[in-house]
Every structure is written in C-alpha cells, then in structure tokens.
C-alpha cells in the first residue's frame, strides 16, 4: 500500500477536510454571516433526515440493502468494510447502467470516490428509523451472519422492503409502490409532526419555489408557524447578505490595485438594485409582530446551539430592517453591525476590515436566499408521488 497522500488523523478529521474541499468546489456557498445554526435548525424541524449533500430518496434503501449484503458475508469486520465499499461502487455503476444521470453519487469520481453515499445518508437513516441501532459504519460491520439471525438484535427497520435481485447490476432511482409506502411509514412514525410528513401524506408533487408558498390547508398550525419563521428569517437575512456584498463591492472599487474586481462598480449597482427590491418586499413579512424569542426557542429544541452573539446579531438586523427609513447603505448602525459580526466570526480574515481577504472575494458571497433544504425535500416528495 505505497502512497503519497494528504494525511488525516481520524475519520472525523477526514470528514471535516472533505467538507472543506466541497466548499471550494461550490464557490461562495459559504455561510459568511454565521446564519447556519438557524438555517439548519429550522430545516431539521421541517425536513428531518435530509441534508444538503443528499441527492435521491432511494439511497435510503440502497444503503441498508448494501449493508445487509455485506453483513451477510462470512468475513472479518475489516473485510466487510471493504466489501461494502466495493458494493457502493457497484451501485453507482448499476445506476449509470440503468440510465440515471442526475444525483448518482460517484458518477464522476468512480472508484476514486471519497465520500460514499453511505456516509452522506448515515445520519438520515437513523433519524427516519430505517437504521435502528446507533453506531458508526464500522460498528455495523462488526455484526456478521450470526448477528443477522439474532432476533433480539435490531440493526435495520423490521419491514424493510426486499431489494430487487439485480439492483447491483442495473437499477434506477424510481421507487416501487411498496418502497414508497415503507418510506412514508418511516417518515410518519419518526417525523410525524414534521412538514415533510404532512406533505408526504398528500402523495403529490410540489413545484413551489419556497416551502411557505405551499398552499395546503392541511398543514398544521405548528408547521405553519415554523414556516412563517422560516419565511421571515430567509427574507430579512437576505438583506444582510446583499448589504454585505454591496459593502465589499464598494471597498473593492476603492482599492487602487484591485485587479480582480475591475467590475466592482457594476457589482455595486447590481447589489443596490437588489437591495431596493428587498426593501420593497419587507412589508409583506410584517416584522412588527415577529416573536424572535419564539424562533430562538424553536432552534433550542434542535441539536443546534445558537450562541448569544448570533442571537444579538439577528435581533440587531431585524430591528434595522423593521425600523430603517433611509437607504440601508448609508445606515451606520447597519454597517457597524455587519462589521462587528464579520470580525467576531472571522477576526483577521474579515473582508470588511482587512484587504488581503478582500482580494479573494469572488464578487458574490453567500448571496442566495435560504430555502431550508426545500430543494432536496421537494424532490423527495416528487419521488414518493411518482412511485408505482
């Protein structure tokens, strides 16, 4: 096993490095103002078990099938880990053979794939009760054929559908009716109160751009309330991202040797007009009666830890959005708030204060509106609806 490679000390470290590398692949998909805690907290409440790097719902079945296959082999734990890995590669090949192109994990990387589908879905499988035993991938591989016969030992949900005989030869992402029923049942029993469950029961496809646009009258009051928070948060904080980018563009335009941002003036004009549109839509959010303590309380119920400085920043920005009258780019409170926030998060790397990091600005930093993983969730809902 001779190699020359970057080295990580443990899987956790490798995971972090992987996240970092992914970050570089999607330029500026970064949480510049530290809004991730609220974003992820609300998304976990609305669409539990999902994550932004997931692609297609049937992986929730492919992974258990592959693991059961590996666990059924007479082998050591280490050998089973290798077997499962190999089966995952076979799966991507089988999906490509079946004509799938979108969302195939490992489509481009092939056997060089570093982040396996099993690791992308591992936590979600547990959240939805498809995987019933807590533990790491390698823990699972310590169970062999004898353990599978042991009825006291529950590794996987008992009514897990049987895999199609040839799923490792040629397969696709389309769910069978039985599979969709199983998944709906899992969502029902493990995320019954969630919006994901309420919409899954509808059995239809949703094409709305944002989850709060879904006009189903059967959405419970509790979920309506969460959605209202999500809509307001997404709407209000979008303005902070736009102003942040505008301020960067203005700073870049001021710099005599800002080679990279010769178009800084154009960028600034663009952000100005986007901010105008944003301001005109604020009324709709009725910020006057937004109960932020209620929002923070909701986040507190999730596994995400909202720090005091994040709460202060959000409160501060909401006040500015609600009470501000003149152009926001001339609002010293607003500018000061963003500077403090960025400095608090990034210290020497804060772009509003330091030139070197500004040089590395791409022109658009985290300037997309938050959708709380609606993109993933609505695709899943469509896949459930299309099952047959």
């Amino acid at each position: 096993m001779s190699y020359l490679a970057w080295i990580d000390f443990d899987p956790e470290e490798r995971r972090r490095a992987q996240t970092l590398i992914d970050l570089f692949k999607q330029p500026e998909a970064r949480d510049e103002l530290g809004l991730g805690t609220v974003r992820d907290g609300l998304a976990d409440l609305l669409f539990p078990g999902t994550s932004t790097i997931q692609t297609r719902l049937r992986y929730m079945l492919f992974i258990p099938w592959i693991y059961l296959e590996a666990q059924g082999r007479k082998a050591t734990q280490a050998e089973r880990i290798v077997i499962a890995r190999d089966l995952e590669f076979q799966l991507s090949e089988a999906l490509l053979r079946g004509g799938e192109t979108i969302g195939v994990i490992g489509r481009d990387a092939g056997r060089n794939l570093k982040r396996l589908a099993s690791s992308v879905y591992w936590a979600g499988l547990n959240t939805l009760g498809i995987r019933t035993l807590a533990g790491s991938h390698s823990t699972f591989m310590s169970y062999g054929p004898e353990s599978l016969k042991d009825h006291d030992l529950k590794l996987w949900s008992s009514n897990l559908p049987k895999p199609p005989a040839d799923f490792l030869v040629e397969t696709c992402f389309a769910l069978t009716e039985g599979e969709a029923a199983f998944l709906r049942d899992r969502i029902e029993s493990h995320a019954g109160a969630s919006l994901l469950n309420e919409l899954a029961r509808k059995g239809k496809t949703f094409t709305e751009d944002w989850p709060w646009q879904v006009s189903e009258d059967t959405i419970s009051d509790a979920n309506r309330a969460i959605l209202r928070h999500a809509e307001r948060f997404s709407g209000v904080m979008y303005g902070a991202s736009l102003l942040y980018n505008l301020l960067l563009a203005l700073r870049a335009a001021d710099r005599p040797n800002a080679k990279k941002h010769a178009d800084a003036d154009t960028l600034a004009a663009d952000y100005r007009s986007r901010i105008e549109v944003w301001k005109s839509e604020l009324d709709h959010l009725a910020l006057g009666d937004w109960d932020l303590d209620d929002l923070f309380g909701l986040i507190g119920r999730t596994s995400h830890n909202l720090t005091k400085s994040s709460r202060d920043f959000i409160r501060g920005w909401v006040t500015i959005a609600r009470d501000g009258t003149g152009p926001v780019e001339a609002d010293h409170h607003a500018i000061e708030l963003l500077k403090q926030r960025e400095h608090g998060l990034k210290r020497m790397k804060a772009r509003l204060l330091h030139d070197a990091p500004l040089e590395r600005w791409s022109g658009a930093s985290g300037d997309a509106r938050l959708d709380f993983r609606w993109g993933i969730a609505s695709r899943y809902l469509g896949e459930l609806a299309d099952a047959g």
Partner: protein, 620 residues
C-alpha cells in the same frame, strides 16, 4: 500516461492506516520519531494496532480498558522518540495510563542544538504462515504525533525483507541507529531490545512499488553528520513549506533566474517577515484562508491554536526529463537546511526523494498544482510583520527557558512510605544550573499528583537545593512524567509541557498496581476479558454503544459456560490470548492477599484451562 496528481486534496489517507498489517501478516515491532507528541494521540496508536478496525479515536480513548489492554500488549513492541520538552501537557486520565507506556517514549535532542524534527514510522510485520518473507513499512511524514489539524503529507512505502542489503536505506538505518544515543547521556534508558534486529531487516528491505509514478527512491538525513541535504538544482522548482527563513530561501532560489520558475507556498505570517528582495525571487501563494479553518459558526470564540493551516514540507524539482519530489520534515529554514560552522545543520531532519520520468510523474504543474490543489491557493499579499507585543516577547523568553530546562537530566526517586510512595526529584549529571529570570517562575509536579499548581522549582533549578519533594502517591500512580509549567508573572503568559525523568527505586509491582487500579471490579474484569478474547473477530467490544453494549458482555457475564466458547476458540487459534489471561489473573491477585477482583466461578473455569495452557507451552 502520468498518474493522478499526488497533491490533489482529495487524495487522503488515515494516519492510523499506517498501522494496519498487510493481509496475512501481523504487527511485530515499530520505531517512530516525532518532534512534538501528545499522550492521547500516542495512545491512539496501540489502539489502532490492537483493535484493527477502531476508526473512532475519541470513542476508543474514552474506553480506559481498551486503552489499558492495547497499551499492555503494544508498549514493549514500540519505541517512540521525540524532541526533549515537546511532550504536550497531559490530561490526568491519559497521564495515568502513561505509566504503562513510559518505557516506550524516549526524549532526544539534536546534536546540532536545534530541533529533533524527523517524523517517521518504521514498522515490521511478521507473516502469519511460515515460509513467507518478513514485510516492512516505512512512512516519512510531515505530521507530528499530535492531534493538530493541518495540511500534512505522508509518503508510505511497503517492502519485503530479502537477503541482500538495499544500500539506499542506509540514511534511515543510520538515523534509527543513532536514536538511543541522542537521549540525555546522564540518565539515558537502555536501547529497546528489538532495535538491532529491526535495523538489520530495514537494511535488507526492498520497496515494492513506488507511488506517484516514481522509479527511484532516496533518503537523506540532516543534522547528524557533517554536510547537509538540499534539493538538486533543475529548471523549475516548487516549494511547500509552512515556515521559511531568508537564508534558506536564497539558497534554494539561487541558480533559477526567473521568479516564474520558483514557486513557493508558505504561511502568510512567515512570509511577512522575509525581506522583499528575497520574496521577489519567487512566485508566492498561500493556502486560502478558508482551507485553514473548519466550519466554526457555532463557536463563540474563534480558536486558532488547533487550526494551523499548511504544515506539509515538499520540494518538487523539474530536472531534464525527470521530476524529483522531496518530502519529509525539513522546512525551508536555516535550522533545517543550512549547515553551521560544525558542518551539520542545527536540526535533525529526514527527507525522502521520489524520482521518476516526467512522462510518468508529470511536470510540476501536473503533479503539484492540480486543479483541486490550485483551488485551495490564493495569491500572497504582504502585510506588515507583526509587532512583538509584551505577551509574545514573554512567550519567546519562556520558550528559551523551556529548552534549557528540558536539557536537564532529571531523576525521580521513589521511597516507600506506609501505603504511598514519596517522590523526590533530583538533577542528575553535571548540567549547569538554570537561573530563572526576574518575574518568571517554574512549577513542577509529578503528573498524577493532586497539587495541580505544582511545586516551585526555582531552588532546584539553581542547584541551591539538591532535591525537591513532589509529594506522595499510591503505587499505581507512580510514573516518570513530570508536569512543568513556566509562568511570566507580569503578562500571565504560561508555557506548560511534560518532561520525562528516570525513575529510581521504583518498587516492584507498579504495572500490576496500575492494572488493578483500572480494572477495579468484577464487571470491568469481564469487560477486560472480552477485550482480550474479542480481538479474535466476532463480537468485538466495539458494540459498546447503548443497544449493543449488553449483548456480548451479558452473555459473557452470565456464567462460566458462555465464556467457554471464546476461550476454546482462543485455545485452538493459539493467538496468545490465554497466556495473557493467565498473566492477568496472576497480576490481579492482591499482593496483600485481600479479596481478588476475579470471581471464584471464573477461577473454577480457569482451573480447567490452565493445564491445557501448560501443555501447549511445553509443546512449543
């Protein structure tokens, strides 16, 4: 066709995979070197060997019995050498276990007065079946035996031991041979018994296949003998080095006329301290800010200490039709690369060179600056060099003091009291005294002593007082490690580290006492047994999470019969587990004849196994 770019960030391996035996082989012995070391990371190594599939470091480190067992098995089969004074301050739990591990770690110093810097592993694997050759693994890294999260590189080579000598390995063999002699002469420990045979095998080891398309491998060591390694000149050069100095950069760039042919990736704060004239000899980049920090949005306080960014050291040269990739421990600094008047460098360093045709290895552009790696880089923009604040100045002064104190040979004398051991520290040999500067204090404590503040060591260091008492501890908490803390009163800056002493007059039975103290009760005894037997495969103890935990342990604890199966299996596989159990039972017997942890039911079961063990032993 060129191979995949070696420096692509997606090209990653786990440190602990270095310890994994090749198929059909088992871990035999290993020597490692490192500059700095922390106990917890060092403890993760025997764990990775004993529980081959243990991937979760933290989970394992929380399991004291697993630690105990892996250290017990592995301590005598490894030797780790690190720079004196560079063992990090230890948490009490890890420190307590280090009693069993203390002979494994030896602190050494570079003869040239600089840092002992090499980071390597040399591991020997024995075949499980007779008639197969011995195999070895050599890893040259930029990563220390610590939990720093940096961009570090490793070169790992697997090879087979043959009858004839492989001349190319001589520099590594020479370095490893010199190690025991680099420890403090006044009280140095004896060299590990397995070292000579390991060195003989390394000398005759031939590396199977080389990575990155290379066709040749060379090694070089700086700082032991006169003369210094430096990369051969070519047409183009690329350097990755976190730390840099003006002299070394000048030496590296000489002979290259165009800055575009000399590329440099280093840390920005280091580059800021280099003269612009020297910087202009290179095209310079740094690792993008985002590549040096992990997502930390939930953190109240930005914490930079554990996110050190670039740490890899590599020199890549295009030379005619060939590419040379040099990598190892040497930074582009004077201490690492430029010989002093003694003719050798201050630091001890090791470098490996992969050499091959460009047609296979690619050019610098292909091999180093792949698309994936380029994404992580950003052009360097100079800033003013940081002003040295009072705190930074104090830290610098304390660092100097650390080196002086670490150079002392310390003896830790043990005296048996009624039920504890009194510890006294004494300076061995004829080292000059160390006077603490005004306003600086030094506190010392035995690492397991309850007095966390430590004892004021000023009088001991100045030799005004020949011995200093460090309190008394139970036998199970005696270890040779001292916690040392330097403090600058004015700024409040502290430097803390762990230093090894030689134990003098250690009463018998300390290791058994550690074992008894950790096992402590019947439940743990059964857990420990499951660990001893569990490594046979089925039912690894890793099921220790809520749901799994009971299953195996309960069956084990339910009485003699359920233990019978794994024990019979152990008997037939003959992997030495039963001998370990035998030893365990003997060591758990309380020397004072009070009640034993081992339950009588198990003793009864064991009575029927012991004779079998004896006959097996006789047959061997």
């Amino acid at each position: 066709m060129p191979v995949d770019p070696a420096f692509d960030p997606e090209n990653r391996e786990l440190y602990t995979s270095l310890m994994r035996s090749p198929d059909g082989y088992k871990f035999d012995h290993a020597v490692a070197t490192t500059y700095s070391l922390d106990f917890e990371t060092a403890l993760a190594i025997p764990i990775a060997i004993v529980f081959r599939d243990a991937e979760n470091r933290d989970e394992m480190l929380r399991s004291p019995l697993a630690l105990l067992q892996s250290v017990e098995r592995m301590a005598g089969r490894m030797a780790i050498y690190c720079d004196r004074g560079r063992i990090k301050e230890a948490r009490p739990n890890a420190a307590r276990l280090m009693a069993l591990y203390e002979k494994t770690i030896t602190e050494v110093a570079a003869p040239g007065g600089g840092a002992f810097h090499p980071k390597l592993w040399c591991i020997r694997f024995q075949p499980e079946r007779k008639g197969k050759p011995i195999r070895m693994r050599l890893a040259i890294l930029s990563r220390n035996l610590t939990n720093d999260r940096c961009w570090d590189l490793a070169l790992c080579l697997d090879g087979t031991v043959a009858d004839d000598i492989c001349e190319g390995n001589e520099p590594v063999v020479g370095l490893l041979r010199a190690l025991p002699g680099l420890a403090n002469a006044a009280n140095r420990p004896t060299a590990p018994k397995f070292l000579p045979s390991l060195l003989r095998d390394l000398a005759c080891c031939w590396w199977d296949d080389l990575p990155a398309g290379a066709t040749k491998i060379r090694f070089a060591v700086n700082g032991l003998e006169a003369g210094a390694w430096t990369p051969q000149k070519g047409e183009r050069l690329a350097i990755l080095s976190p730390f840099v100095s003006g002299d070394a950069l000048k030496q590296l760039a000489s002979g290259y006329d165009d800055p575009a042919s000399c590329q440099l990736v280093a840390r920005a704060e280091e580059l800021d301290c280099i003269k612009p004239a020297i910087r202009s000899m290179f095209e310079i980049q740094t690792l993008d800010e985002r590549a040096t920090e992990y997502e930390q949005e939930d953190r109240e306080e930005a914490c930079s200490a554990d996110l050190e960014g670039l740490h890899a050291k590599a020199y890549v040269v295009e030379r005619g039709s060939r590419l040379h990739i040099h990598l190892g421990s040497a930074n582009a600094t004077t201490a690492a690369l430029v010989p002093t008047h003694g003719g050798r460098t201050q630091n001890v360093e090791i470098m490996a060179t992969l050499d091959g045709p460009k047609s296979r290895m690619g050019t610098i552009e292909d091999a180093v600056f792949s698309e994936g790696f380029r994404r992580l880089l950003a052009p360097y923009t100079p800033s003013e060099p940081p002003e040295l604040g009072a705190a930074a100045a104090a830290e610098k002064a304390l660092e100097k003091l650390r080196i002086k104190i670490a150079a002392l040979a310390l003896d830790l004398h043990c005296t048996q009291l009624t039920d504890t051991i009194a510890l006294d520290v004494e300076i061995a040999g004829k080292a000059p005294s160390v006077e603490l500067p005004e306003g600086v204090s030094c506190f010392m404590r035995a690492i397991t002593v309850a007095n966390e503040r430590g004892y004021d060591a000023a009088a001991l260091l100045s030799k005004a007082q020949p011995r200093m008492t460090l309190g008394s501890v139970p036998l199970s908490e005696v270890s040779r490690w001292l916690g040392i803390r330097l403090r600058d009163e004015q700024t409040g800056v502290e430097v803390a580290f762990t230093l090894g002493a030689r134990l003098v007059g250690l009463p018998d039975g300390r290791d058994a006492a550690v074992l008894r103290a950790h096992i402590a009760n019947v439940e743990n005894f059964f857990r420990y047994l499951s660990l001893l037997l569990g490594s046979l495969g089925e039912g690894s103890f890793l099921e220790s999470e809520a749901a799994g935990e009971g299953q195996w342990l309960r069956r084990l604890g339910q009485g003699g019969t359920s233990l019978l199966e794994p024990m019979v299996r152990a008997l037939s596989f003959d992997g030495g587990e039963l001998a370990e159990i035998d030893q365990l039972i003997k060591r758990l017997e309380d020397p004072d004849g009070r009640t034993s942890i081992v339950p009588p039911e198990f003793c009864a079961l064991w009575a029927s196994f012991a004779p079998l063990l004896a006959t097996k032993g006789a047959r061997r």
